[in-house]
């Protein structure tokens, strides 16, 4: 279980958080069909560095931007989600 440092609440167990998705798979409401297909179905999904959207759902409910390595699970950075990210 990961240990995630919430900018509001400090280090907390993963059980308090929900994983939403890799940031690159956020599909805009007005996306084209081709853009959606690329983001949801044909993306590269590489091993290693992954920038992800999480939520401290059972805590302060903040949305977080987390840089996580999918191989080692090392979390390089955690910050509050900024609308313009």
């Amino acid at each position: 279980m990961l240990l995630i440092t919430c900018p509001h609440c400090g280090p907390r167990a993963q059980a308090e958080f929900t994983f939403e998705r890799p940031v690159e798979t956020i599909v805009a409401i007005d996306a084209s069909t081709a853009n959606l297909v690329e983001k949801l179905y044909t993306r590269t999904n590489p091993r290693g560095a992954s920038v992800e959207l999480w939520r401290h759902a059972r805590g302060c409910r903040a949305w977080l931007r987390i840089e996580r390595n999918t191989v080692t699970h090392v979390i390089a950075a955690t910050s509050l989600w900024a609308t313009d990210t």
Partner: protein, 944 residues
């Protein structure tokens, strides 16, 4: 019967005898004995039968690595099957029984399978399965009887288990000299330490081999370290095994508060600790390996270090005339222990000089054939102490993602680079010599070299300088618990299983409950010889938690039985309970399924309730629906992103049906949306999707459309609600509210019995209907008034089952059945309501495959008899299915079965006759394809 107890010595309390039984016979041991040591002291050599060939087996080791001596501890609902006799400390009244034998341990019919061993080769299961079902069915009967370990108890476990979370600066696993030194150093540096030890005593190898440390006897030093840890706010957990090393330095520990089979006092039997550690020092030690020779599995053939442990730790001597064989310096210490205990050393066979044991004879062992200085000799003995090298326990290090490196001295792998905050010390790191181990532990704990604890006791090494002799005899057992021999591995290799991971699965090497603790390296060496590659190049299979078998009870903790999931009760639970309904779990909720009267079945009750709705009046609780209060200047714009239907044009006081899509354009949920004020809406959606919808709304608001000014309040539990439906619904509502009821899909504030709420004119049943929303803590008198009025008019309360009959007849979809997660709005008849775009799921609607004409689409089915739900739709028996029945019911007032289904090409096949086939139930019902509405298609019964 050569095992016996020494008159003095050992860490046992001779003042406290403990009585126990094994296979119905009474024995006595002492407090501090394990079941294995007490049985050895009582002269018992045979403890069980092997898994596949039913060969007689005794005790191999003295710890958690034991593959052979598995017993069932205690009986009835406290029975704990597959407990290692070497890892149970006896308690008064312990009842232990051997396993996997019939009719008795001494005479086992299954042992004849040993005679047909050539017919159960490596990969037997694979080969039999590929040989066709008949062959398997033939063998299965015999195998299910013959193979297997102890049976699991069939009644609930009466014991309690709990979970605790903890954190510390340093977690030390193992309390041998290295672990103690590391814990002591960390403690001295002011760090908070948790020290775990799977034994009862601290000290690890120090409980076996005496030494002095820092001028004290070793165990006194161990106790001093314990005191220092406790004084420094640390924790010392004995009888606690670290079972898993997970991400970010989270470890699970299983603490035994009672022994297997013991009635725990207090009532907690085991505790699961989840420890988040700042750093982790692993000092788990090593596990000795068997030698490979024919008959190396016979009772009386034991690991050398285990023999010594029984003698010095428990004063239990496993034999009187011993052969010591192997490739390590550690054998000399065992020889000394045996001699001191009065046993004779019949032969010392050092395989490093080319000598070897070729075979062991007798059961229990009575002689060995050995090759000594080139001469074959037969040596009588009643004990073989073998030492094939020591394997560092790298399990936790590997679980934590650490790398391994081959260590020639150990003839095994040792920890190399770490991925997390773990470091390994002591013999598990490949170190030998007590002072070297103490110094390394001290340094890993953060101490400086000058202050490290030291021993003046002469320390001997334990490493072998060569791996076990090869090639091993074909019939030598490598994996004792799964009965895998060298010949099995060779056969698998010849059949092409070259990868260590494939070999494992094909031969079941290392897949027993001991997870190959004694067999891993031997199996690997055999493969590397066959492959003619270095062991390091062949590699090991993956180490996975748990390190030792863990009872399911401790994983469940207190979350078993009715604590497994919360039970959510309706605000009107008591009102329903008055009518003794059948309850149905719906997520965490419990809702009335039907209110049967005397003599009624579920179906007849539901039919009566549904008929009341169609003919007079029915009342049902709909409180569990998801409900959201959505307000703000941009509330309508927000809802138009969430929902695929038009929202913005909705007039104040009006509502409409709506549905939501997933991003892939499949229908995710549906419900109703009501405009209560210019900038305030009430959105309802399905009960089962409530939490998902809550998260989805937050995602849309915060991530997809963060600039919209909108507030979302989850009011699922604020509003309790019920529906009143039937021809008499309008007059009843108007009488009880004292006001004109709104027309269909209208919403109005209301007040009943002084309780303010909302009155929504919506119909799910297909009759004139209203939903009434009141605060959950105020709804009871309102319900009572409506219940009285309903029953007085000959109406009925109706539950989920009647609701289902009504909605199927009306052709309403539900989430999970028709909206299966694979259906688009087009597939289930919702496309007319779709907006052109701008909502979640819109981009994917353009995908060509989603417009294909042969997609499965919603249809109705009718038949003379009931239609089996879930049945596949075929044109004739044996043809490929073209769809399936999603919901099945019966006509409420008429007769015959009706159903909703998804069918290729959908309504293009109206009037076609198909077969609803359910082979598992032996049913095949002819059905006719119809429109998916069976009642009042025009909606005349509720529209104004």
């Amino acid at each position: 019967m050569t095992g016996h107890r020494l008159p003095a010595g050992g860490h046992i309390d001779r003042g406290r005898p403990v009585n126990f039984s094994f296979d119905g016979r009474s024995y006595s041991g002492f407090e501090g004995d394990t079941l294995a040591s007490a049985l050895i002291a009582s002269g018992v050599m045979l403890l069980g039968r092997s898994f596949k060939y039913h060969r007689p087996r005794g005790i191999l080791g003295a710890g958690v690595e034991e593959p052979n001596a598995l017993v069932t501890a205690n009986t009835g609902n406290r029975a704990e099957p597959n407990s290692r006799a070497t890892d149970i400390f006896i308690t008064e009244g312990l009842v232990a029984t051997s396993q996997n034998r019939w009719p008795s341990l001494g005479f086992d019919m299954g042992a004849v399978t040993g005679l047909i061993a050539p017919f159960i080769p490596a990969g037997f299961y694979y080969k039999t399965f590929f040989g066709g079902p008949r062959l398997w069915l033939f063998f299965e009967h015999f195998i299910r009887r013959a193979a297997g370990l102890g049976p699991a108890p069939t009644r609930p476990d009466p014991d309690h288990y709990d979970h605790r979370a903890a954190f510390c600066d340093v977690l030390v696993v193992g309390s041998g000299p290295a672990g103690l030194a590391a814990a002591d150093a960390a403690c001295a540096a002011g760090q908070r330490v948790i020290l775990t030890e799977q034994d009862r005593l601290l000290g690890g190898s120090l409980t076996v081999d005496t030494a002095d440390i820092s001028g004290q006897p070793a165990l006194a030093w161990a106790e001093a370290v314990r005191a220092r840890i406790l004084a420094n706010s640390g924790r010392v957990l004995t009888r606690t095994t670290a079972t898993g090393y997970y991400d970010h330095d989270l470890l699970t520990l299983i603490e035994r508060l009672g022994e297997p089979g013991q009635t725990p006092s207090p009532s907690t039997a085991q505790r699961l600790w989840r420890v988040r550690a700042g750093r982790v020092i692993l000092a788990p030690g090593t596990i000795e390996r068997p030698l490979l020779f024919t008959g190396n599995d016979r009772p009386g053939v034991m690991l050398s270090s285990a023999v010594r442990r029984y003698i010095t730790r428990f004063a239990a001597v496993p034999g009187r005339r011993a052969v010591i064989a192997g490739c390590t310096d550690d054998m000399a210490q065992t020889a000394r222990s045996l001699t001191n205990a009065g046993a004779k050393i019949a032969a010392r066979i050092d395989t490093r000089r080319g000598d070897a044991i070729l075979a062991a004879h007798g059961s229990p062992v009575a002689a060995v054939t050995a090759r000594i200085a080139g001469q074959s000799r037969r040596i009588t003995c009643d004990l073989v102490a073998m030492s094939g090298g020591f394997t560092p326990s790298v399990h936790l290090h590997s679980q934590a993602g650490g790398d391994l490196a081959w260590h020639d001295g150990c003839g095994a792998f040792v920890p190399a680079a770490s991925r997390q905050s773990q470091t390994t010390t002591g013999s598990a790191a490949g170190l030998e010599g007590l002072n070297a181990i103490l110094a390394d532990g001290w340094a890993k704990g953060g101490g400086s070299t000058e202050t490290a604890p030291r021993s003046t006791t002469a320390a001997t090494g334990w490493h072998g300088s060569a791996p076990p002799i090869t090639p091993a005899p074909k019939k030598a057992f490598i994996d004792f618990q799964n009965d895998v021999t060298a010949a099995d591995l060779d056969l698998a290799w010849r059949e092409g299983y070259r990868s260590v991971e494939h070999l494992k699965r094909y031969t079941t090497l290392g897949m027993a409950t001991d997870q190959g603790k004694t067999s891993n390296i031997a199996g690997l060496l055999r493969l590397s010889e066959n492959e003619a590659r270095a062991p390091a190049a062949v590699g090991l299979t993956t180490f996975r938690p748990p390190y030792v078998p863990v009872t399911l009870g401790v994983l469940a903790g207190e979350d078993g039985g009715h604590h497994m999931a919360p039970r959510r009760r309706l605000a009107l639970h008591a009102a329903h309970a008055r009518h003794a309904p059948l309850w149905q779990p719906l997520g965490y909720w419990h809702r009335p399924r039907a209110y049967p009267r005397a003599g009624e079945t579920l179906h007849s009750a539901a039919l009566r309730e549904a008929r009341a709705v169609r003919t007079t009046l029915g009342l049902t609780d709909v409180s569990t629906l998801a409900k959201f209060d959505i307000s703000g200047p941009d509330a309508a714009a927000f809802l138009e992103i969430v929902c695929a239907t038009t929202i913005g044009k909705l007039a104040i006081g009006r509502g409409r049906y709506t549905f939501m899509l997933r991003e892939d354009s499949m229908v995710a949920d549906d419900g109703t949306v009501w405009r209560l004020a210019e900038n305030r809406f009430l959105l309802t959606s399905s009960t089962g999707g409530a939490d998902r919808m809550d998260a989805h709304l937050a995602y849309v608001r915060d991530i997809l459309a963060p600039r919209l000014r909108v507030a979302i309040i989850n009011v699922q539990e604020h509003w309790a609600a019920f529906a009143i439906a039937g021809p008499a619904a309008r007059t009843t509502v108007e009488t009880l509210t004292g006001a004109a009821a709104p027309r269909h899909m209208g919403a109005a504030p209301t007040n009943v019995a002084g309780v303010p709420g909302w009155l929504l004119a919506a119909s799910y049943s297909g009759e004139r209907a209203f939903e009434l929303y009141f605060p959950a803590n105020g709804i009871a008198p309102v319900w009572d008034a409506f219940e009285t009025a309903t029953l007085a008019q000959g109406g009925a309360l109706y539950g989920l089952e009647a609701l289902e009959l009504l909605r199927i007849e009306k052709g309403h979809i539900v989430i999970g059945a028709e909206a299966s997660g694979r259906t688009t709005p087009h597939d289930i008849g919702l496309s007319k309501m779709l907006r052109s775009g701008g909502f979640v799921g819109a981009p994917a609607l353009g995908r060509p495959a989603l417009q294909a004409p042969d997609r499965q689409m919603l249809v109705g089915l009718e038949a003379e008899s009931p239609i089996p739900e879930g049945a596949m739709l075929v044109t004739a028996k044996g043809n490929a299915p073209q769809g399936y029945v999603t919901s099945a019911g019966s006509r409420v007032l008429g007769t015959g079965g009706i159903a909703l289904a998804l069918l290729e090409r959908g309504m293009a096949r109206a009037d076609e006759t198909l077969i609803a086939s359910s082979p598992t139930r032996g049913l095949a019902v002819p059905v006719r394809v119809t429109a998916p509405v069976f009642h009042d298609a025009a909606g005349d019964r509720y529209r104004d």
